[in-house]
């Protein structure tokens, strides 16, 4: 073996060795809890006494609980609403940013859209809680200018879920915006030139060029948005606790409450397992049917 090859081998081994601590930590803190959760979902466990194996009873109990239907309906609406708001608006934002003809101005627009992302979600939710407050919230005060009576945004079963979706309006400032922007920036200019020569309009260009060429980004955003909407029950926990009634109840919140309020850890793990399987299926379907185009 030449000294060059030996050095290369040593370098590769060193690099591999440097990955090992990260891998070990990921195995310990990500994979082990996931597998533990899978096993735990088959047990009755109050968190203190030894777990008792009960087979699939936790899963059956969840499917049979009275609020199950409402939770699935709410999750579906949030997924649908989330995909619309967290994909369409950031995409439009990215398109508008790209359409700014002056480079310096375009850069400022990018910054303006990106900077609000640093606001922690809890703060954002709290701010929206104030905005939607039925007694002195800004939203109702603005509506009152048009003689609209106060709306119980979070306290009414008809508007509570919509109010949760409203958080972050106009929804441009998200990771999806940056992903779409980078995708659009990566499209070669000569393709646009060719389209212009062919006489395509702006909308045609977006539909026939931009959208097909950023399919990889779209797939990524759909999966990430899906996971976010399934996992992220923080706004609901902070603003409505799933109410009024079951108007904003979702499986993620049920999982959290089961484990951390009700000490039904096995039941919570069962819901967590179901959510994992659900997102796995959504991700596989997205990857299968949304193929990159050239």
């Amino acid at each position: 073996m030449t000294s060059g090859k030996r050095q290369s081998r040593t370098m590769q081994f060193t690099l591999f060795a440097m990955i090992i601590p990260s891998l070990a930590l990921i195995l310990l803190f990500s994979y082990y809890p996931a597998i533990r959760s899978l096993v735990g979902s088959l047990t009755f466990w109050n968190g203190f006494d030894p777990p008792q194996f009960i087979g699939l009873q936790n899963f059956i109990a969840y499917f049979q609980m009275p609020g199950f239907g409402a939770q699935i309906r709410n999750l579906a609406l949030l997924l649908l609403g989330g995909i619309v708001t967290l994909m369409v608006f950031p995409f439009l934002g990215a398109e508008l940013t790209q359409s700014v003809p002056w480079m310096r101005v375009r850069r400022y627009v990018q910054w303006l859209f990106a900077v609000p992302m640093v606001v922690p979600q809890v703060i954002l939710v709290a701010v929206w809680g104030y905005l939607l407050n039925p007694y002195d919230g800004v939203v109702d005060q603005m509506l009152s200018l048009f003689r609209v009576p106060p709306i119980q945004w979070l306290g009414n079963s008809h508007t509570a879920l919509i109010s949760i979706l409203l958080i972050g309006f106009p929804w441009v400032t998200s990771l999806a915006y940056l992903v779409f922007l980078s995708g659009l920036q990566a499209i070669p200019q000569d393709i646009y030139e060719a389209a212009r020569v062919d006489g395509s309009t702006g909308l045609e260009r977006i539909w026939h060029l931009d959208v097909p060429l950023i399919i990889p980004q779209l797939r990524f955003v759909i999966i990430i948005t899906g996971i976010t909407m399934v996992q992220n029950f923080v706004p609901i926990l902070l603003l409505t606790s799933g109410g009024p009634g079951n108007a904003t109840a979702v499986p993620g919140l049920e999982m959290y409450q089961a484990a951390f309020s009700n000490s039904q850890f096995g039941f919570g793990m069962a819901i967590g397992t179901l959510l994992f399987l659900f997102m796995l299926v959504i991700s596989i379907l997205t990857l299968k049917f949304l193929k990159p185009q050239t």
């Binding site: 006494d49 009414n156 109410g243 309020s261 039904q264």
Partner: protein
């Protein structure tokens, strides 16, 4: 300074403070003598109450001061206060269970009698304090049993089935605050005393263009569980003997589960259903947005449920059912002098034929103010050696001695908390006038977590739908009964109890 001098000064300081606090009638003994049997070395951890803030807060000032006095008498032992980052005892207990499973629970933890007696905390986490309560408190001269120091009403809440897992510290009261200007505008000259008069006043307020009453129904909103306790204790009073398995002041988880299995706590029981119908009849007068606010939330809460007091002080509704402990909050909101208060109206036969015409004022509030402490077990807490446990008991005996308990409780409550140790210095407040009578057996239902937090959450969600008129009475009754049956079965399963033994 020598140790003996320190002890002597501590004792002098202690006795001086006790005398100032008006405890001259209490027979105290020398702390040095009372401490003689404690030989432990180490740290005793105390998980603070969630609603009194950190150890540095003004509400905990006297607790810390008394604790430092005790520490000076026990140089080898340090009391370490742990902040409680949770907002409710349910959340706090969920964390406790997790810590206990790893053997890392704090030594002394904040509890409430309801959660302790309901079976919500797995057996083996808290120590049965009865053996210690049956022995003398060394800090009280001539005391034969520590338990004798508590007022009989408090003992009734503490001891269930000859076991005691929580020491109670103070009594408090609930009250309805009303906006004086609104009452004047609606031509209501005096506050209502009965439910019937209350309904009349609700109508008057609504006719005057005022939103009459905020009945908070958020998870942890307090009003629903208070109302359930009020009407159940009143309307089911004649059926207590059929469900009172534990023969204690408060129906526990077993009593409640048996009551459900015997269809006493059931919509099929007209007396029980009548309670919810009374509430249903006032739906047109309730303020909207009730699922977002709580009667128990601090005014500083910035996540749901938020306090109902801020909109109340802004004049958004005329009445709220709150607690006397919130009087300082109304002051801080600049509402002093603008509101009055009256006890929750009594449900009489004029409103329902099922009324027992008894006073149930004392069934809500009660000994749930400050100073409810439990001791964890060695299984839940590997730190707790037998010697440290002995020291922890001695510390608790010091806290719950008449010369100390009153100062501590009064210092924490801004006048809202009434000590429950006989002879303790205390403050007189509206709480006392509401709660000074011995209440009947308290029948608690699902909304107070008697059958676990899961059933409590489900119940709140069903009630929210009913109160917001999203579902009819029939659906409400149907869903409520289904929830009750499921909750009773789950409670029995969790607590390894065969309910059929008590039903047939």
């Amino acid at each position: 300074m020598t140790r003996s001098k320190t002890l002597a000064l501590s004792a002098a300081g202690l006795l001086g403070t006790a005398a100032l606090a008006g405890c001259g009638a209490v027979n105290t003994v020398s702390p040095a003598h009372a401490s003689a049997n404690v030989s432990a070395h180490g740290v005793i951890t105390v998980q603070l109450q969630a609603n009194t803030g950190p150890a540095s807060s003004s509400q905990n000032r006297m607790l810390v001061e008394i604790t430092r006095q005790w520490e000076r008498q026990h140089p080898g032992v340090t009391i370490k206060f742990l902040d409680n980052p949770y907002t409710t005892v349910t959340q706090s207990n969920a964390a406790l269970i997790t810590e206990a499973s790893a053997g890392k629970a704090p030594d002394i933890v904040w509890e409430q009698y309801g959660t302790v007696t309901s079976g919500a905390i797995p057996a083996g986490i808290l120590t049965n304090l009865m053996p210690y309560l049956k022995k003398p408190n060394p800090y009280v001269k001539g005391n034969r049993e520590w338990l004798d120091l508590w007022e009989p009403v408090a003992q009734a809440y503490m001891v269930v089935g000859q076991k005691a897992y929580v020491l109670l510290g103070s009594d408090l009261g609930t009250t309805i605050f009303y906006n004086k200007a609104d009452f004047q505008k609606a031509h209501i000259s005096q506050p209502p005393k009965t439910w019937q008069q209350f309904v009349v006043d609700l109508k008057k307020l609504k006719n005057a263009g005022i939103t009459p009453f905020m009945f908070t129904d958020a998870t942890g909103g307090c009003n629903p569980s208070w109302f359930e306790r009020k009407f159940s204790s009143e309307l089911l009073h004649s059926e207590v003997n059929k469900i009172d398995i534990n023969h204690a002041q408060v129906a526990d988880g077993l009593d409640t589960a048996v009551a459900i299995e015997r269809n006493i706590i059931s919509m099929t029981n007209p007396a029980y259903a009548a309670g919810w119908k009374l509430l249903g009849a006032v739906r047109p007068y309730l303020a909207p947005g009730a699922s977002s606010v709580s009667a128990c939330a601090n005014v500083t809460a910035n996540a749901a449920p938020e306090s109902q007091l801020i909109p109340f002080a802004q004049g958004k509704y005329a009445m709220v059912w709150s607690g006397t402990w919130h009087v300082p909050d109304l002051k801080s909101l600049g509402f002093s002098g603008k509101y009055g208060e009256f006890p929750f109206p009594e449900i009489t036969k004029a409103s329902t034929k099922y009324s027992a015409n008894i006073s149930v004022n004392g069934v809500v509030g009660g000994p749930n103010g400050v100073g409810e402490w439990s001791l964890t077990t060695e299984r839940a807490n590997s730190n707790l050696t037998p010697a440290l446990q002995k020291a922890a008991i001695n510390y608790l005996q010091y806290l719950y001695a008449p010369q100390n308990e009153g100062r501590w409780v009064a210092g924490a409550g801004n006048g809202a908390f009434v000590p429950v140790i006989k002879g303790a210095a205390g403050t007189t407040s509206s709480a006392q006038q509401f709660e000074n009578s011995h209440p009947p057996v308290v029948i608690d239902g699902v909304l107070d977590g008697q059958l676990g937090a899961s059933a409590q959450t489900d119940a709140v969600h069903i009630l929210q739908q009913y109160l917001s008129s999203s579902i009819s009475w029939n659906i409400f009754a149907q869903e409520w009964d289904a929830m009750l049956k499921q909750a009773a079965q789950e409670w029995a399963l969790t607590n390894h109890v065969n309910l059929s033994k008590y039903v047939h």
